[in-house]
């Protein structure tokens, strides 16, 4: 076995008995030998009468020296033992991570420390590469949603554009019947677009890939413009839309855009399924449960007891296809439930056939630390948006 191979063995196997033995012998030779020599010289000198030092002092010095060597030995020994252990772990990791060829290559070193540090950095490098690979796999998976989105939307864009060009008479006049037929095609193309949007949105939120943007905000301030804009839709159908806001509702931490999405969905459902009367939007600070309850109550056709549990499932529409004229996707409530769950809230429905329906959701009141309030003004979310744009 040549020197290099021995070294390789030293690093690769880390036989701790052999390295400690090696160290002990080296240490003893290096420290005790000078002491023996020193004593020999002293003894020689004192025999010849050239005493330059008090024998008592010399003894004390010798004792201290032995003690120092002993302490040095113990601490070096334990330190070395630790190094050996680390190296052992490292060589284990090396075995797992690096190929035998790489280990061999690494061991072409000048000394143990160089080899050791080199193997450490090799392991780190290898881990980094593995990490990169994993990350790109994650990206790929994340990109799958984007790819599906792209692949579906592009042909749909062509279909919509083609139908629209003819329907809008951009390429020549058409009669009323033709227009009507194309109108149906357009409706379905639009529904397909909404479906793609909703499915992708839902798959994203279910896979927890949707970044939530929680901000402390005034719930009523966020809700009011949404209710106002839906009021026009309700009024055009002869329905009222009113609010009963609890002034005791505190500032809450929520994702503004997502809560708007939920509210819009509940409101459009309520308007869609109500022929007479109207809709009331309520809020309540439920102190006993430390949450705020938001309710959208309608005087619509209601939902039968057996249909109630289905509603929050995907593609669950109670109506026959003909009835559902405005082309809902049946995903609105499923999406709403995911959004509320992300807020650690609950969403549920109460209904009586022929009387009306109430959809309710809660937003928890979290203890907002005073420091946080000062840094988040009620308008901070809009301000931030403005800066981003």
């Amino acid at each position: 076995m040549n020197k290099k191979d021995k070294k390789l063995l030293f690093v690769a196997s880390f036989d701790d008995a052999s390295i400690l033995r090696k160290f002990t012998i080296l240490f003893l030779v290096a420290s005790i030998l000078p002491m023996v020599l020193l004593y020999y010289i002293y003894a020689q000198n004192s025999r010849h009468g050239h005493i330059g030092i008090n024998p008592a002092n010399f003894t004390i010095a010798m004792v201290l020296m032995v003690l120092g060597v002993f302490v040095g030995f113990i601490s070096m020994h334990s330190l070395l033992k630790k190094v050996v252990n680390i190296s052992k772990e490292n060589s284990k990791a090396l075995g797992n991570i690096l190929s035998p060829d790489t280990v061999k290559e690494l061991n072409q070193g000048e000394n143990e420390i160089v080899i050791l540090s080199r193997s450490f950095s090799a392991v780190t490098q290898q881990l980094e590469e593995k990490n990169k690979k994993l990350r790109s796999m994650y990206e790929l998976q994340k990109d799958f949603t984007s790819m599906v989105s792209h692949e579906l939307r592009t042909p749909l864009a062509s279909i919509k554009m083609a139908v629209e060009l003819v329907a809008e008479e951009a390429v020549g006049e058409i009669n009323i019947e033709q227009k009507e037929i194309l109108g149906r095609a357009q409706q379905e193309a639009d529904r397909l677009k909404r479906l793609i949007d909703d499915i992708l949105y839902l798959s994203k939120i279910e896979a927890d890939k949707l970044q939530m943007n929680f901000m402390i905000d005034d719930l009523h301030r966020v809700m009011t413009p949404i209710v106002e804009s839906q009021k026009y839709v309700a009024q055009s159908r002869g329905l009222y839309l009113k609010t009963e806001f609890d002034p005791g509702v505190p500032q809450l931490s929520f994702d503004r855009d997502r809560i708007i999405q939920v509210l819009n969905n509940l409101l459009s459902n309520a308007i869609k399924f109500t022929k007479e009367g109207g809709i009331t939007v309520k809020t309540l600070n439920k102190i006993s449960e430390n949450c705020v309850v938001v309710s959208v109550v309608d005087t619509g056709r209601g939902i039968s007891q057996e249909d109630l549990p289905k509603l929050f499932g995907k593609f669950q529409q109670i109506d026959s296809a003909q009835e559902n004229v405005d082309g809902g996707t049946g995903l609105g409530l499923a999406i709403s439930r995911e959004i509320i769950t992300r807020h650690s809230g609950k969403i549920w429905v109460e209904s009586k056939l022929g009387v009306g329906t109430a959809f309710n959701f809660t937003l928890p009141i979290k203890e907002i630390k005073s420091a946080k309030i000062s840094s988040f003004s009620p308008y901070s979310s809009t301000q931030k948006r403005g800066q981003d744009a």
Partner: protein, 124 residues
């Protein structure tokens, strides 16, 4: 009338979009590849560029970055056409140019397309 370059690898969508714009009187030149655009850019320049994001080879944003190196193209408005849902993608334009860009999601309707084209041309 304004000259528009339309860069879109989906030939059906490119040609239909061209019809919609041409009917409004715009002069439209269609490119299916980004390399063609870079070659044409050496000869002339348009008033507006409609640029698909996901193009084979060089992506839309990459192509725009290359075009922007030419001082003649520095201020030409760009509208990205994207079928990608993710906001990261629609923010791509931001890193290239903070002023003259817009994003139009696919499928877009003719009305919206014309609106965005008109406002981009006015702003210019």
């Amino acid at each position: 009338m304004a000259k528009i370059w339309l860069v879109e690898d989906d030939q059906n969508l490119a040609n239909l979009t061209k019809v919609a714009l041409a009917k409004k009187g715009y002069q439209v030149m269609v490119f299916y590849e980004s390399l063609q655009v870079l070659a044409e850019a050496k000869k002339q320049k348009p008033d507006l560029i409609l640029m698909d994001v996901m193009l084979p080879g060089q992506s839309g944003p990459e192509t725009v970055t290359a075009l922007r190196n030419d001082p003649n193209f520095r201020n030409i408005p760009v509208i990205f056409l994207t079928a990608l849902l993710s906001t990261e993608e629609s923010a791509l334009g931001m890193t290239i140019d903070k002023v003259n860009y817009k994003t139009l999601g696919k499928p877009y309707d003719i009305k919206r397309l014309l609106e965005v084209v008109e406002t981009s041309l006015i702003k210019k």
